[in-house]
Each structure stands twice: as C-alpha cells, then as structure tokens.
C-alpha cells in the first residue's frame, strides 16, 4: 500500500460529530483529517431550521454545517470530500485507510462518525418511481399530491406527523404499518387517529410498486392473513427510520445487533485508539447537540490517548 500521509487523527464522517471532533483536535494542534463521503454536515443539513441549538436562536442545518467546517479549517483541519474508506486497518499503533480514490493515509488514532441515512423499503420498483410517486419528504413534495390519494409507510413519530401534515394536500392518506401498534408518541397517534382523512392498514407491508411512467398502485400484504391486495394510489411517502452507516467497519469494530457502534462513556470502541461519536453509536437520543457532545468527548479522549502513547514511547526510548 502506498502511504502518502500520516495524521495524529483521522475522522471518518463530516456530520456535526465529526466536524466537532475536527475542531477540537486541530485546535489542540493535532494533525487531523476529516474524510467525508457525502455533503459536509451529514443529516444536519437536511434540517430546514434548527431552533434549539444553544446560543443560536435560529439557523439552517446547512448554514450551521458550513460554519463548523469553516471553524475546523481555520484551526488547520484537512478535509477529503466525496471519498469513502475502501480498506481499513484499525488494530495496532498505526492505523491505515485507503480511500475510494486510491489515496492512502495512516493515523495514530481514528474517530468514527459515519452517521446514518434514511431507511428505504428495498422493495421492487422503489428506485424506479422515486420522484415519480415515491417520496421521502412531505414538506418537499407534498404539494405535488394535492387532491390525490396517497399512502404513508411507517409507524414512528415522523410517519404519523407527516401523515397529518400531508392531509393539507392529499384528499386521503392511508398509513401502512408492519406492526399492530405504533412506536410514536401518544399525542401523534391520537392526532392521526382522529383525522377524518386518514385510514390505517396495520400489520401490512408494501411488496411491490407498480405503474408505467408514474406510480399507479402498490401491492400490500397483510402479514397476519397472508393476503395481498392491489391498492391504487397516486403516491407513497416512506418514513421508516434511519440506518447507521457502519457497513464498512463491520468485522473491524464491535457493533450491536442493529449495526450501531458500541462505544463507552469516553467514546472508546473495543479497539485501542479507535473512538466513535454521533448518530452511528448505540444510544437513545440523536440530536445535533448530542452529536456535538459526543464529538467533543471523542476528540478529548483521542487527545488523551495520543498523549499516553507519546509518554509510553518516550519512556521506552529513555529506558534504552
């Protein structure tokens, strides 16, 4: 492997956790690289308005991400955008990664902040009808479905709240959910249940999307009876949660059964010198503020670990 550069720390992921880690590490004069696969800011950029970030009355996620990036850069943090790790060697004192563009780096510590992404159904036809009847954003595409009959898939807060919001446009909303109960807060469930234009198909899943140029119908299977119905619809909105972007570290770092990184209170993983932070770690609450807090702790823990390693090496040298 061609090694082109060595860093004190490499941060894999450029969301709020990764950017915060980058700010802290580079400000501590540690040579730091942030590797980011998508748009800088992660899921944060998808938030139109952040009104609960302490100290900032109101800001868009896009703007906040750009400020964080600017801060990190101002302290000397390097960035590699639109690159993803292809190979990883995390064990040992020197970690190494090769990126999708062929470049290779080594580091004394790694902070994993890969974040998450919206979960898709993975059903036949889903990609073909994206933007032609299938949507993942009510505020973006709701007005295309004015006076139309649509389906909302999911049973969490997002699904129920967006279903109610979509009744501003759609004449009828049918919520399809795989379980016999919802996972949302009670007030969200009640609001959806009380709405005259919302119907429910519980214990059911979509098994196929059908149409010619645009989506025209879906096949819905009742999981209890096994019966499949052909359901005419103009659109389907999918709100079924998020998946951690941890496929690339499977087999390297301990993950739980949901694919989330298992990290300690100091954000350390099961591998010495490898830390994790943000939405991809196993935890209950996922907010920009919690990601920023995680990123801070991970950066400080990585700094402490790097210092310990330096002291150990010095002692070994001194001991001859």
């Amino acid at each position: 492997m061609e090694v082109t550069n060595h860093y004190d720390a490499i941060v894999l992921g450029g969301g709020p956790a990764g950017l915060t880690a980058g700010i802290y590490l580079s400000r501590a004069k540690l040579r730091t690289l942030i590797v980011n696969e998508g748009t800088i800011g992660g899921q944060m950029i998808l938030t139109h308005e952040i009104a609960n970030y302490p100290g900032v009355e109101s800001i868009s996620g896009y703007q906040l991400a750009n400020i964080m990036k600017k801060q990190a850069k101002s302290f000397g943090c390097d960035f590699r955008n639109n690159a993803s790790p292809v190979t990883l060697e995390l064990e040992g004192e020197v970690k190494s990664i090769t990126l999708s563009d062929g470049s290779a780096y080594t580091a004394s510590s790694i902070i994993l902040t890969p974040g998450g992404r919206p979960r898709t159904l993975g059903v036949a036809g889903e990609d073909d009808f994206k933007g032609r009847g299938i949507s993942y954003c009510a505020t973006c595409d709701g007005d295309f479905f004015t006076n139309k009959e649509i389906v909302v898939v999911g049973g969490g807060n997002s699904a129920l709240e967006e279903a109610v919001s979509l009744t501003k446009y759609a004449s009828k909303v049918t919520i399809v959910h795989q379980f016999d109960h919802f996972q949302a807060f009670e007030h969200a469930i009640e609001e959806a249940r009380r709405h005259p234009n919302i119907e429910f198909m519980m214990e059911s899943v979509i098994t196929a999307f059908k149409g010619s140029e645009n989506l025209e119908s879906v096949d819905i299977k009742n999981l209890k009876t096994g019966e499949t119905v052909h359901f005419k619809t103009d659109g389907v909105f999918i709100f079924i949660g998020y998946l951690p972007n941890t496929e690339f570290i499977k087999g390297h770092v301990e993950l739980n059964k949901w694919g989330e990184i298992v990290a300690g209170n100091d954000m350390s993983t099961n591998i010495p010198g490898v830390f994790a932070a943000g939405d991809s770690i196993a935890k209950r609450f996922r907010q920009v503020t919690t990601a920023v807090g995680d990123g801070t702790v991970a950066a400080l823990a990585a700094s402490a670990w790097l210092n310990e390693m330096r002291v150990k090496q010095k002692n070994l040298v001194d001991a001859g």
Partner: protein
C-alpha cells in the same frame, strides 16, 4: 433564497443566457430541503472536476422557474429537485428527486464526457 455556492439563476432571461453561452449546463431547480440540498452539495463538489460543465441552481418557487417547471421532460415529475442537463441549449436528461453522486456523475460522463483530469 437558495444559499448554495452554485451560480443562481434568478430569471428566465438569465437561464436563456447561460444556455446560450455554455455548451454543457446542469440546472438544479429546488428548495432548501432534504431532497435538494444533497444534490446542490454534489454539484458544488463536482464543479472543480467538471470544468466543462456549468453548474447552476434555480429556486423552485421563483415564478421565473417556469422555464424548468414547464418543460415536457418534467411533466411526470413529482419530487424536487428537478435536475436538468442541457447540451447546446437542448435538454438531454432530466431527473426528479434526490440523486446520488454516482447517479449524477454517470449522467455527466454520458452526456457531457468524462473530465480530462478525472
């Protein structure tokens, strides 16, 4: 307002001017929402590599964006952003809703050619 780092097209006249002055043009017509922002971000990142392509955005709710919204190629679109690829002023490809970097670069490479320094 679209607060991206792309060239903003504010009027139909500006849209026509860009098409007349550039052989290869990509226009992303959307809002500052979760389906659109990733596509703006991809375009921003590709600008330095695809120097033979002019990357622009246009606000979906700007009445002047009728030049995009009324294109025959988008008549079945039901998701923003509407991303239009023009070669010599003619639409060669149009996509609806969020796209991945791989999807965008595949279209750019096919319709406008792979960048020399790629």
């Amino acid at each position: 307002m679209l607060y991206t780092n792309l060239k903003h097209l504010e009027s139909a006249a500006e849209h026509a001017k860009i098409l007349s002055e550039n052989e290869n043009v990509m226009v992303i017509c959307g809002r500052m929402g979760p389906m659109c922002i990733p596509v703006y971000g991809i375009a921003e990142d590709l600008e330095d590599t695809y120097t033979h392509v002019k990357f622009c955005d246009m606000e979906f709710d700007n009445p002047e964006s009728h030049v995009i919204r009324n294109l025959p190629e988008v008549r079945n679109f039901m998701g923003i952003p509407f991303t239009i690829y023009y070669k010599n002023g003619k639409v060669v490809k149009a996509t609806s809703s969020i796209q991945s970097r791989q999807q965008v670069t595949a279209i750019l490479d096919k319709e406008f050619g792979v960048p020399v320094n790629a």
